[in-house]
Point group: C2
């Protein structure tokens, strides 16, 4: 394989696999002529589909396996009994250095469990996090943790901030990302102690980070912050809330535009303007959540996405796989360790003097 | 005052007080000819405004005070030094039995602090909660806690469920509310232990509650649940996220409908259909969050609302004040205590037998 770069793809994960996986792959291959692909799964199903995806087929190696992970598999079972499945093999190709990143639309917990087991946590990272983009008025904002775990200590929130900053740089191309901690704003009741402690830690460190303190969830859309940090439970609730409201409003708009012949005529006239909004709020355009903090890139696509969404997830994987993300994070973690340990030597002598 | 029912109103709280307070009061008075009002605040400012609100004026008593609570007041200061302010007096009228409910658009923390101090917690309630309605496809869904506190134990979540059930009955008129705990859905990682324990407690009790287990935030809009229960931090983040996304999408629709002469013509044609959506998602229509679990009804209006929103907040206060909410909650709390203590006597003899 020498100098050819491969993306490793779980052909069997997701509600509409393998069809939308192959269609998404074909779309992506048409955009990026320089990348190659490893496609893991049942060759009997994949080969006929690939025959209809000529651009991708020319650069795709099918890696056959009969085994795949069910969408309702439990994470522990997926780790214990998942070896040799299409998901497992997709991740293992990253570990072996055959691929720069893996993508799957399969079960989140299973993917997370297998990725953690196979790739292990990166050095210095205590807790990996799931990151993805969130649409704003002016572009996108990276958000993490979206549910890799349910809780996070102050130190782990600082880690998330560091990883989120690197993600915003390499995936979103923001040179100096503005980072904030998600919090609530009722005066003295300002959020959990872990959040306030994380703010103190970041301010007291020599991290090169444009840290902007707290952000309330209703302000994320303003586009004034590039990275929003939360524990996995809170981040997941916020993400799901946003998805739910956006879907409800989109459905209501559709109903309104079809509510009668006059409205339908009007709809034709307003459509070009509304298209911009629909594109911005299109969940497919922000599909592809990345597990940050592992020794290798694994991207989780929404299980119910279509080929456009899966194409986007491959695109995120390629962007992360080709980037210097890990160096970014490593450098910042070193800076954090340095600033933490720098405090101790200063404090010790003065304490001794006090005695 | 005999048999006349009064609503007690903080005339000076909110970004646009006292103007929108009086305008909202006038709107409400036109709807409800049977209620009377105590209006607390600076008479020099209130009297000229009331002169332009004849319907309300005929049934309003202005209670003068020079003192008001600043929008950025700290809760502790509001309690320590707030006595005699328009907010304080509005709440005190409820304590004294002069009014059936109090309304303020002032600082949330200050209102919460004063309400707790003046009215005290209702018997059997460990932690009051802030509840409000959330728009769904089919109507509204009650949600609590929206930020009265930041955390909640399993027992407190059960309390919230009981209070939310009563709220859905008396404010939303749902005979048998379907209650669920807000949770995340990543398989084995299903949420905090407190949430799972709360589910066990409710299932193991003899509460007369249509308990539906967990709900993910993206499903709230489906309208299949009438009461969503969360700790105050999570509830507040969900609420703010929903507000932010709804506002962003509304702004984008507005921009789209004004994007050129053809779009503007189309906008005229689609407007009647879109109006339904705008009304449904109009935050003013769901304005008025109630502090549940105190000895008396206190309603918090959004600080930045207009007269329509403030009218709605008074309406919520009237509905709660006239209802049998407290009896509902008391009965259910007794049932909970009975079912909890019912477990012990059964367990004890069998343990003794084991000895």
């Amino acid at each position: 394989m020498a100098d050819r770069k491969f993306i490793s793809i779980d052909g069997m994960g997701g509600d509409n696999a393998p069809l939308i996986v192959v269609e998404g792959l074909e779309r992506f291959a048409q955009r990026r002529a320089d990348l190659h692909f490893l496609l893991h799964g049942d060759e009997a199903q994949l080969a006929p589909l690939m025959a209809k995806a000529p651009t991708a087929a020319a650069r795709t190696t099918i890696r056959h396996t009969d085994k795949s992970i069910a969408m309702d598999a439990k994470p522990a079972d997926a780790v214990r009994r998942g070896k040799g499945s299409s998901m497992w093999n997709a991740i293992e190709a990253v570990k072996n250095g055959e691929a720069i990143a893996a993508v799957s639309a399969g079960n989140t917990g299973a993917l997370m469990g297998q990725a953690m087991f196979i790739l292990k946590k990166a050095e210095g990272v205590e807790r990996p996090a799931l990151a993805a983009n969130w649409p704003t008025r002016t572009g996108v904002c990276a958000m993490l943790d979206l549910g890799a775990d349910i809780a996070a200590s102050a130190e782990q929130l600082v880690e998330f901030a560091i990883m989120g900053q690197a993600y915003a740089r390499v995936v979103n191309g923001v040179a100096n990302p503005r980072v904030a901690l998600l919090n609530i704003g009722s005066e003295e009741l300002k959020g959990h102690e872990s959040i306030r402690e994380a703010a103190r830690l970041i301010r007291g460190s020599n991290l090169q980070m444009d840290f902007r303190g707290y952000i309330e969830a209703d302000k994320i859309g303003y586009g004034t912050i590039d990275v929003v940090v939360a524990d996995g439970f809170t981040g997941n609730v916020a993400l799901k809330t946003a998805e739910g409201i956006a879907r409800m409003m989109s459905d209501m708009i559709k109903d309104a535009l079809k509510s009668g012949p006059i409205a339908m005529l009007g709809a034709l006239l307003v459509m070009p303007g509304l298209k911009k909004m629909r594109e911005k709020m299109d969940p497919r355009k922000v599909n592809g959540a990345v597990f940050l903090g592992l020794n290798g890139v694994v991207v989780k696509s929404h299980g119910g996405t279509d080929s456009i969404g899966f194409e986007q997830a491959i695109s995120v994987a390629a962007g992360m796989g080709e980037s210097h993300f890990r160096t970014e994070v490593e450098d910042n973690l070193k800076r954090l360790v340095a600033s933490t340990s720098a405090v101790a030597p200063v404090a010790e002598p003065s304490e001794q003097t006090a005695k």
